[in-house]
Subunit: 349 residues, 2 copies
Amino acid sequence: MTTHSRKATIFDIAKLAGASPSTVSAALSGAWKSRRISETTVELIRRIADEQGYSTNMQARGLRQARSGLVGMIIPVHDNRYFSSMSQSFETFARDRGLVPVIASSMRDPDEERRIVQTLISYAVDYIFVAGATDPAAITDLCNAANLRHVFVDLPGPGAPSVISDNYHGAKVLTQTLLDAQAHSADPARDRLFFIGGVATDYATSRRIEGFRDVLTAAGLPPGADQIIACGYPPRRAMQEVAALCDRLGGLPAGLFVNSLTAFEGVLGHFVHLPPGSFDTSVIGCYDYDPFAAYLQFPVHMIRQDSHRLIAEAYRLIETPHPGITVKEVEPELIPPRTIYAGPFGEHG
Amino acid sequence: MTTHSRKATIFDIAKLAGASPSTVSAALSGAWKSRRISETTVELIRRIADEQGYSTNMQARGLRQARSGLVGMIIPVHDNRYFSSMSQSFETFARDRGLVPVIASSMRDPDEERRIVQTLISYAVDYIFVAGATDPAAITDLCNAANLRHVFVDLPGPGAPSVISDNYHGAKVLTQTLLDAQAHSADPARDRLFFIGGVATDYATSRRIEGFRDVLTAAGLPPGADQIIACGYPPRRAMQEVAALCDRLGGLPAGLFVNSLTAFEGVLGHFVHLPPGSFDTSVIGCYDYDPFAAYLQFPVHMIRQDSHRLIAEAYRLIETPHPGITVKEVEPELIPPRTIYAGPFGEHG
DNA sequence: ATGAAAGCGCTAACAA
DNA sequence: TTGTTAGCGCTTTCAT
């Protein structure tokens, strides 16, 4: 192509091809089938467009068609195994549909979340996925006002379809696993399971606490209030709390249910100061999966949430004409110690 | 606001405010200062716009202004600690500038990479960052044809400014650390350092191999060809290669320079089958950082690449009027064993 | 201090 | 089988 300062438009191509702009548009957008444009014309136009390095101006098309070909997704943070897997799946499915994904992170800030929704509306995204919504009702209000389809992922919302992980069931499985694997100690104070990490008012955490509690209760071991330490997600807090706990108990408890990878990081920050052998009478579980955690000095039972299926189901719902306000639960998976999970994108570095 | 099926436009607001569309536009876009519109009018318009839930149609604005307010970034994969940190930083800086980030993953596929660039051009992004480019020259061609500013990150390109990690220096530091920490064994075959993982023709890997080689050579221990095993990034391959290596040597080598977290995953997949104590005479280093790797059964020396600074420098370059084809190198950091790094977004889970 | 009108690049009716 | 025309919502001269 020749040197331009301005990008070629449909008009330029039309002139060069001796055709009209609408013919060029149809030829290039694939609408020529229904417009019965001769294949030779299409070929010619295609060739010229190619030579000119033409590419559709999506802003113009979007403006005309009142849609953009963009799909939005909000996640709490990029820098996280669980959510970045979601991003990867979200993008893959979007591409299959010829859509362009726009992923934004809210840092779990409701204001930021709302601002992002507004922005995505401004760009006329075709629909949005919201993972880990902190204020789902507000999001639904904004989307409804803009006539924008949306679906909640990971955390449910009251005003739109949701796809979530079955936290209750996952927690029951993990708790039961810890209970079964637990070695019993003479000291009754230490001979118990503890739950650490997360925010008790979070939907996901509260469901997991229920699962934890129900399994213990069914085993005749109803947990006391001190056995549930919902100290948030930051590693530092978890480290302090687990240190305090070991102090109180005079050692590690028989079992620990760690309620997120970040809390687990904190727990490890304390563990690293303990003498080897400390873990022989403790069994550790973590709700969320990390391949490196599979290879620590002690066995770790992990729950892997199926982010790929979560996203797949979310696409299914958003493409269903009238889904209603359903909540679809996806089963997570127990990953035994020393096991590496190979995901859908597992071979990439 | 009342129930609409159609979103409010500048004309609706104009009618309600008894003003003209251009006045509304100026009032809402902030251009009213230079247009000397009375503050009361602005207030009125703002109020009405708010009531109507108005938000600017960015496609229309973009079409008119021939820019979109979008900034694109291409990364190899989302599902990766290094690149997802980049995404987080990229987004943070974009927001500071009032821009909307669009992040796409190429899966290291040159065709996909080109397609993404085309797409981003179609959406009239203001500029793009390309991390881990597999075909930088092609990207530069496309961008130049579309008059689009771009900068390469992590892997340099020949036709645009680049910001990369100082792989040579990082590799030297890590190699020297392994050399210093190494315990010497009687068996001369095992008493050597091995480099494993990565693709030898990759720019980053080749620089790291140079660093590895230069340090060993300076120490009077020039590495043989068998000491450099560039078996790619997939965990599986690394696992096979390290197993074969241990087989050949009759045990673990004195030191292992693992050239990526994914390769490290594979290495661990083999290590987990070794008897405890196997690691007492081996020292392990990994180029790239993971907090869980800091807490394995054996100490791991890691190199943390400063993705945040990488992105910061990339923004600096893209905002410099005539940067030329410079290459800016950013120093990585050695993270000693049992150390947790707290990044700029470290307190998020 | 504000309005009128043109036009960004494209697509969809409607004509021919 | 193709061309003409209007208009998507906004910004930007140019008038007033």
